[in-house]
Symmetry: C2
Subunit: 132 residues, 2 copies
DNA sequence: GCGATTGTCAACCACTTGGTTTCATGTTTC
DNA sequence: GAAACATGAAACCAAGTGGTTGACAATCGC
């Protein structure tokens, strides 16, 4: 019924969402929009040690959000946006929910409050009686 | 230039993406589509202990993705989709990147390879020389 | 009132995360 | 060849995650 595009148990989704869950990594992704950058460029605006920054890059690589290409002594990183699109697709599965479909739930609950008979969740009926 | 709708350093985004980064929590969200459910309902298909499941629900509550309403002894949980929409908005900021804009980067790099003069990143010029 | 249901809390555990510092390695430049 | 540069790797640490178990409290049905 929902999210038929992206399955629920997807370790890829785990890694992508986890990668997006840190502001430093989101900042790295934003830096990577438009052009490649090497690790020093990525690390310098991050206000943390260089090894810490490269660990964040590695998290992004595990999530396949960043690909690295070694050129001499510099490691050029490049945004790999497909997993972002996949995460977006997963979120889109909930679009109808946040675009007002949940108001139908409101309507349903109100209906149940005014009509004590149709045997939905017992607790909902109790709630209705209590508030009456 | 990008993501002007949702700021980069947003602790709300941290919590939302972290909440989405676990399959159990995504399964809970999906269960919550359409109707409220109490904690037992949410926990039973999750193949883990009840306290573990309620911890996941609490993570979702911290991310404002779930709101809880106590009715007698049952705790009814309800999907709160606005943060999902916010995460979606953040991702949308990268849509142009994954919808082919990054091919302009390819074109730019190829242009740099064939023209050694226009002083971009030194490493890119070196790369061009090496491959020539 | 009793027993079953629903859920909380605290303690505990193994593992991961996010950060540091220090040292080593390959590369470019002069 | 030496110095500067770009990065990796390892050891370490504090805090957080994800899970368990066991004891406890409130509530509902009978």
């Amino acid at each position: 019924m929902l999210n038929h595009m992206v399955p629920d148990r997807a370790p890829g989704l785990d890694r992508v969402f986890h990668a997006l869950a840190h502001p430093a990594r989101r900042a790295i992704l934003r830096q990577l929009c438009g052009r490649e950058r090497n690790l020093s460029e990525l690390a310098s605006p991050l206000n943390m040690s260089f090894p810490a920054a490269t660990k964040h890059v590695r998290v992004l690589e595990r999530a396949r959000l960043v690909r690295r290409r070694i050129v001499g002594r510099t490691h050029l990183c490049r945004l790999q946006p497909k997993p972002l699109a996949q995460a977006n697709t997963w979120l889109e599965g909930y679009r109808k929910v946040w675009e007002g479909n949940f108001q139908r739930l409101d309507a349903l609950l109100n209906e149940l409050k005014s009509d004590p008979n149709p045997t939905p969740h017992a607790s909902v009926r109790r709630q209705a009686k209590r508030q009456a």
